[in-house]
Amino acid sequence: MVDYELFNRNTQAIIYGFQRNPIQRMLDFDFVSKREKNSVAAIIKPTQTAAISYHNVFFGNKEIVIPIYKTLDLATKKHPNADVMINFASFRSSYETSKEALESNTIRTVIIIAEGIPERQSRKLIKIAEERKKNIIGPATVGGIVAGAFKIGNTAGTLENITLSKLYRPGSVGFVSKSGGLSNEMNFMISQTTDGVYEGIAIGGDRFPGSKLIDHLMRYEANPKIKMLVALGEIGGTDEYAIVEALKNKKITKPIVVWVTGTAAKILPKGLQFGHAGAMADSSKETADAKNRALREAGAIVPESYEDFDKEIRKTFDKLKQEGIIQPVEDFEPPAIPMDYNTAVRLGKVRRPTDVVVTISDDRGDVPTFAGIGLDTIIKDKKSIGYVIGLLWFKRELPEFAQEFIEIVIKLTADHGPAVSGAHNAIITARAGKDLMSSLASGILTIGPRFGGAISNAAKYFREALQKGMNPLEFMGYMKNVVQINIPGIGHRIKSVQNPDVRVQLLKEFVLNNFEKHPHLDYALEVEKLTTSKRNNLILNVDGCVGITFLDLLENLDFTKEEIEDVIHSEALNGLFVLGRSIGMMGHVFDQKRQRAGLYRQPWDEILFTD
């Protein structure tokens, strides 16, 4: 790259700070400018843990990734050709990060975006840059642009503005200003009065900008593709006198149209902050009027007021065109960039089908809702767990007897001692040093046809019997001869007619007292009469009772037949058992962890070794 160029169509930058929007805007600019390679080589995100991660962006229609590094050091090693760093670090850390970039061997130009960097820190950076022959743009700037080649961060605003201002291809005008806020206005105005901007830089409004107006004007003077210069100076400081000197010494020979803003300061109260940090006239030499006068006397084209700035620029351009110094520019239709999906959605321009339909809850508003009921209401009205289960499992506000039934079932199923497979597995896993989730999961995974299965099987077969209209005797025969299993839910190891299971009694009592109808329980009790007549321990056990009374619960709610089918089909009954038993299994896990219990190994004497 030649000395007078800071950026061209091959320039790649490292972005300090993970700035999604400016990065995408740079790539969009690259695409409409028909750059071959995108202009962002890498991103630095000091807060990330990984040494390298990736950020996906669009380059036109194509999605590509840009590496994100934790350190600048690694980024410069991996991307030795990226010679620009755009520093989005805050004013607090901008000095250190800019210094690091200036002291690197690969970064040639640093753009400092942050506003409010202490002057002494800026001056130290300037000194380093001078010693190491580096360039700084900023602080306190939006950056700049080389039309059709390279765009710094947020410069030039929206894509629409870039297109309207013809910044996707070079014109003949080199522009420099202090203000970044006005750079859009100037880029567009220049595109209307000339063949457009070749390069436009905003040096920033600080008292000690990293590069001065004159630095960029001298580059433009040296650049054969730039035919005329436009500069917008500002009250305060003496930088504009460097332009005066350059004109007098014939170091600037290209036509230059300049305006120094702040002419109104003379009528404003002293000490009023008027524009930028650097915009305060300390002496009569630093006033806008004095600078405009000196520039005019030195041969710059200076309008009478900003009001005529556009006319003077147009006049100067037309003259150069007449003289044949400026050839017609090659224009083209910039390729269209597809609208961002989010923008299109906002504008109502696109629609897409969803992948997931959710009907039970919504967390998008101020308060999450369960089946339309706000969580705040649920808490304030002291609703029960049974009520919440009703909302989330059955999408209804259950009547109180149903809420209570559910809670009884949860309590009944919460634990059944350490020896059953679920608790046992949970204990073994916990003692193997695994975490709560793994231990609980290994317990839950044993729930199935044999463990906990009696509940759902009892529900299944008793329901079938009732639906098919079998009498209890037919049902017993059916189970014995056709299904060929013992009737699920009937029989207990110890408990008998004479020694009833108190859990079953309580549940039965609740159902008989609170359910309007209970056909399944009635039927099961008929079956029990027959089975206990054979053997006195063939009683309706707790699993059977839970399964069967759950069917009765459904009969007492405003469920249609089809809805009852859905509830059973969706394994809500298993859900109740899993939910209840998880309480106990977690209890066992906590119990083992509290004791710091060591690894469990099954004793040999429990195992028969044989071939």
């Binding site: 002057e119 947020n154 503005n161 806020g181 109104a264 404003l268 109260p269 002293k270 009001e307």
Partner: protein, 431 residues
């Protein structure tokens, strides 16, 4: 803004606490009292008994100099004389350099008898700092500016090993005091992020102690975060006072408070309450240019305000800002019945949403239709940026619906052309 003036009182206190770190021989009396109209004078005297026992100096501490020439410097005074001076001067309105303002703060300190007055100041430049020194300090330093010696100190210089003596003239007996004092002062200047420090004059007392008499200083307020242990203490930050005579009206205070609440920027300064040309311009750079052009085209005396809004303020904040300006422009209709002009201007925004901000302005206009008509306000709009078409359309609509005269221009009209249009309208006799 980076460079901010501080009170002489604060500057001296800062020197008193920090300078001994570099120049341990600096033994400042640290006797400083501020008297304002709230001060209980008797209490202040009893808390600072030296006022009664020593001769004192009294002078305003409100960021202006040449106090002796303005007859506002009481020297070698007794306690009673000091009291009289305070009573007769506090809250008195006087004119300093064409600015009228009330005397609000008086600084009392011991009178230091001295024969010789020295001058020292430090300023900053791009590639280094400058130490200015003169044997001819005091009120005549400006007349004797050719006698001031300027010593450039390149950035990053280790001042302790810097050969300052050879850069200064023969300091005679005073060199043993002056060299370490100036070097210490320079270290203080650098380490505390001063951008300007002038001690004019300072004296050397019989026991070879340096005493700063008058001090002017500016700090770099952007460096505040680096000085939490001195002047940037977030719980007790140093005050950056407004220039003498600058008071804020109720509405200006209101906008400043609003500005402090938002990440966006809202600025307002009323220049002429009965002015006929008012601005509501987006962006700091554009606001300067509109103001310039209004002055350049001859409306300086009619300019009502200076201000700007920027940084994508919310619709609500923009509405409040617009309403405030509309209230100001309509407050007093022109006695001669002439038109008033409101420029709702701006360049082409980078990212400020023109539609959203204009929605705020439009509702302020809708709320003020009668006022605007009564004050014969004509509105000129020029703006570009994201959603510019919709934003400008809103402005056109509100004009058509309410009958408030509003002319709307887009990016294809030169930014300040509306000022020229106002000029033409004026020449044609208003609306």
């Amino acid at each position: 803004m980076a460079q901010k003036n501080i009170y002489e009182y604060d500057a001296k206190k800062l020197i008193a606490s920090e300078l001994p770190k570099y120049y341990p021989d600096f033994k400042y009396h640290n006797k400083l009292v501020i008297i304002d109209s709230e001060t209980d004078l008797e209490k202040a005297i009893s808390e600072n008994p030296w006022i009664n026992t020593e001769k004192v100096v009294v002078k305003p501490d409100q960021l202006f100099g040449k106090r002796g020439k303005a007859n506002l410097l009481l020297l070698d005074a007794s306690c009673d004389e000091m009291k009289d001076f305070c009573y007769s001067n506090l809250d008195r309105v006087c004119e300093i350099g064409n600015v009228r303002g009330a005397l609000k703060r008086l600084l009392v300190e011991p009178f230091i008898p001295h024969e010789k007055e020295y001058y020292v100041s430090i300023t900053t430049e791009r590639d280094g700092d400058l130490i200015h020194f003169s044997f001819e300090g005091g009120i005549f330093v400006e007349e004797n500016w050719d006698k001031v010696i300027h010593v450039p100190i390149p950035l990053g210089t280790d001042i302790t090993s810097f050969d300052l003596r050879s850069k200064l003239p023969d300091l005679g007996d005073a060199k043993g005091v002056l060299i370490p004092f100036i070097k210490g002062l320079y270290q203080l200047f650098v380490d505390q992020d001063f951008t300007f420090l002038e001690i004019n004059p300072f004296a050397i007392t019989g026991d070879n102690k340096v005493v700063p008499l008058d001090v002017k200083a500016r700090l770099d307020d952007t460096a505040m975060f680096l000085h939490a242990d001195s002047w940037g203490n977030p719980n007790n930050p140093i005050e950056f006072p407004a220039a003498f005579g600058q008071t804020m009206s109720e509405k200006e205070v209101y906008i400043r408070e609003l500005d402090e609440k938002t990440g966006a920027s809202l600025k307002l300064k009323v220049l002429n309450p009965v002015g006929r040309v008012w601005t509501m311009v987006a962006g700091g750079g554009a606001s300067v240019i509109y103001t310039d052009t209004i002055v350049d085209l001859g409306f300086g005396e009619e300019l009502g305000n200076y201000g700007e809004y920027s940084g994508n303020p919310s619709r609500e904040y923009t509405e409040i800002y617009a309403q405030t300006i509309i209230d100001l422009i309509t407050e007093t209709p022109d006695p001669a019945g002439r038109s008033k002009y409101l420029i709702i201007g701006g360049g082409i925004a980078n990212f400020t949403d023109v539609k959203a901000t204009f929605e705020g302005i439009v509702s302020a206009i809708r709320n003020s239709v009668e006022k605007l008509k009564k004050a014969k306000v004509k509105i000129y709009v020029r703006r570009g940026g994201p959603n510019e078409k919709q934003g400008l359309e809103l402005m056109k609509q509100v004009g058509e619906e309410t009958g408030v005269p509003i002319e709307v221009y887009d990016r294809y009209t030169h930014m300040t052309r509306v000022v020229d249009l106002i000029k033409q309208a004026e020449e044609a006799g208003g609306i």
